[in-house]
């Protein structure tokens, strides 16, 4: 596993208007890792993802991807660099078919030539999507939509995938399935940063984790070590 950082968030402050929501947040993801960002509702975790994706600008600090400064770029430019986001609430295109949702995932020029191969891969990985390929995406169940959102993210040939609350509202069995998929995706060389509320599960799946609370990173380290810190977990999550 490479020691060089793929994604680096350096001391960012983020405001919504005059309201500060992130304070001096720093985070590193190295190539090939699975990193978890764990926090409860309104902890700022989704805000951080949105900032990395370019929908928000930090007022202080910067963000680097493969050494390149990205904090001032537009979302569509950041995607073109190889950062793929699987957003909170899936946000699949409801009135487009499953296959069109996947195809639009390969919109970036680098990914277009690999489209057919990637489509086959996605249908193999998620057979249910293949079965439903001509159905409108809004007719899919929650779990199927999440698979579609992940598949769509894969179509863009990303270097890193950001997943925002992937397991929200889904049955445990489906969540297991999805985490298995994440491990396979990592085997393929794609780095993963995922955001979740469930500390216990997240720490089982991640290599390293950051705990965010009220807009600040309060704890970070190897997941194995954080798992052991029972008392701290109870204090921060009441789990």
């Amino acid at each position: 596993m490479s020691e060089e950082s793929l994604l680096k968030v350096n001391h960012v402050d983020v405001f919504y208007g005059s309201l500060q929501v992130l304070w001096d947040v720093s985070l590193t993801v190295r190539a090939g890792e699975i990193v978890a960002l764990i926090g409860s509702n309104s902890s700022g975790k989704s805000t951080l993802l949105r900032t990395i994706s370019g929908f928000l600008r930090p007022s202080n600090g910067n963000i680097e991807f493969k050494g390149k400064r990205i904090e001032a770029m537009n979302p569509y430019q950041i995607v073109a660099l190889g950062i793929s986001q699987v957003p909170e609430g899936r946000r699949i295109f409801p009135d487009m078919t499953v296959s069109d949702n996947l195809v639009i995932g390969s919109y970036n020029h680098g990914a277009r030539s690999k489209r057919e191969g990637n489509l086959k891969d996605v249908y193999m990985r998620f057979p249910i999507l293949g079965l439903r390929r001509n159905q409108l995406a809004k007719t899919l169940s929650g779990g199927e939509q999440q698979m579609l959102a992940i598949g769509r993210g894969l179509m863009g040939e990303p270097k890193i995938m950001l997943l925002d609350e992937m397991s929200l509202g889904l049955a445990p069995l489906i969540v297991d399935e999805l985490y298995r998929t994440l491990r396979e995706i990592r085997e393929r060389g794609i780095t993963i940063l995922f955001v979740e509320q469930n500390a216990r599960r997240s720490l089982k799946e991640a290599d390293r984790a950051y705990i965010i609370k009220s807009g600040r990173i309060v704890l970070s380290g190897r997941a194995a070590e954080l798992r052991e810190e029972d008392e701290i977990q109870k204090a921060y999550f009441g789990v």
Partner: protein, 289 residues
């Protein structure tokens, strides 16, 4: 009171053919509203702009209106792209009303420009085939009306296939359904809006050429066609090409049959009443989602 079917054949045929024209008129308006949720109140004036540009080419260099499209279409595509990119995209970022106000400004500017350049006189695109008429099944059907329908179908089919089959088309559709998610796919949604508006302008210009060939027009003809576009979209619903076509035909039929039963003065009134009725019963339109 029961007319024989053959009496009704004329207004029904006219209504259907007219409906094709109305569908093309509404096409650009529907596209802009569907993609950007923008109500382009200058749409009718952009249609008449097409009529006047073709008129200029016809009277200036004796160019057939259809041929003049070769020049008009690229021109309005570029103008539409620039208008959305530099004006309307910025207006949309300010508020929901700002773009409507700008479009209102365009409407006033265009109507006055038409009057300044071409006077308030009623104009028309008169060609060698303007009065050509065919006898089909005992009915006298004007060539222009037939061309209106055929071209309407062709344009709608082309636009539908573009939106369905090309990356750019799918990107525009995606941007219209979820702007944030579209950006996450690497789609520059501001640019997609500019393309959509450009296409809408081109459709309006094309509709304008057809309108100019079919009816007399004047500087203030924009508003009636804006209302027709509204009516067609309300009747047929958004997001469906077939819906727009059906909406156009229903509107056309309401107009011609209304005129048949209640006199020419009442024909638009009947059409508008039909729109209100549909709005009351099924607000999303016949085919609307």
């Amino acid at each position: 009171m029961i007319e024989s079917l053959s009496d009704l054949a004329m207004p029904i045929t006219a209504g259907i053919l007219l409906g094709g024209l109305y569908a093309v008129v509404a096409l650009g308006f529907s596209l802009v509203f569907g993609v950007m949720k923008l109500i382009n109140v200058a749409h009718g004036d952009f249609v008449i702009l097409g009529s006047y540009l073709a008129f200029a080419a016809l009277t200036g260099i004796d160019l057939d209106p259809f041929l003049s499209l070769v020049f008009i279409l690229p021109l309005v595509l570029v103008i539409g792209f620039l208008v959305q990119k530099y004006l309307l995209n910025r207006a949309m970022a300010i508020s929901a009303d700002a773009p409507v106000i700008i479009c209102l400004g365009f409407s006033l500017m265009l109507a006055n420009m038409f009057q300044m350049i071409w006077s308030p006189l009623s104009r028309g695109l008169t060609t060698s085939y303007s009065l050509t008429s065919y006898n089909i099944g005992g009915l006298a059907i004007q060539l222009i009306y037939l061309l209106d329908l055929i071209i309407a179908l062709a344009v709608m089919l082309a636009l539908r296939e573009f939106l369905r089959r090309t990356y750019l088309g799918k990107a525009i559709v995606a941007a219209s359904q979820d702007r944030t998610a579209a950006e996450m796919m690497g789609i520059n949604t501001n640019k997609m809006y500019a393309y959509a508006f450009a296409i809408a302008m081109a459709c309006a210009a094309l509709a304008g050429v057809l309108v100019g060939l079919t009816f007399p027009f004047s500087p203030t003809s924009g508003v009636p066609f804006l209302i027709i576009a509204f009516g067609v979209v309300i009747l047929g619903g958004l997001g469906s090409m077939v819906g727009t076509l059906i909406g156009g035909i229903v509107f056309g039929l309401a107009q011609t049959l209304g005129g048949f039963y209640f006199g020419v003065a009442a024909q638009m009134f009947v059409a508008y009443v039909m729109v209100l009725v549909i709005l009351g019963i099924r607000p999303q339109g016949i085919f609307g989602r």
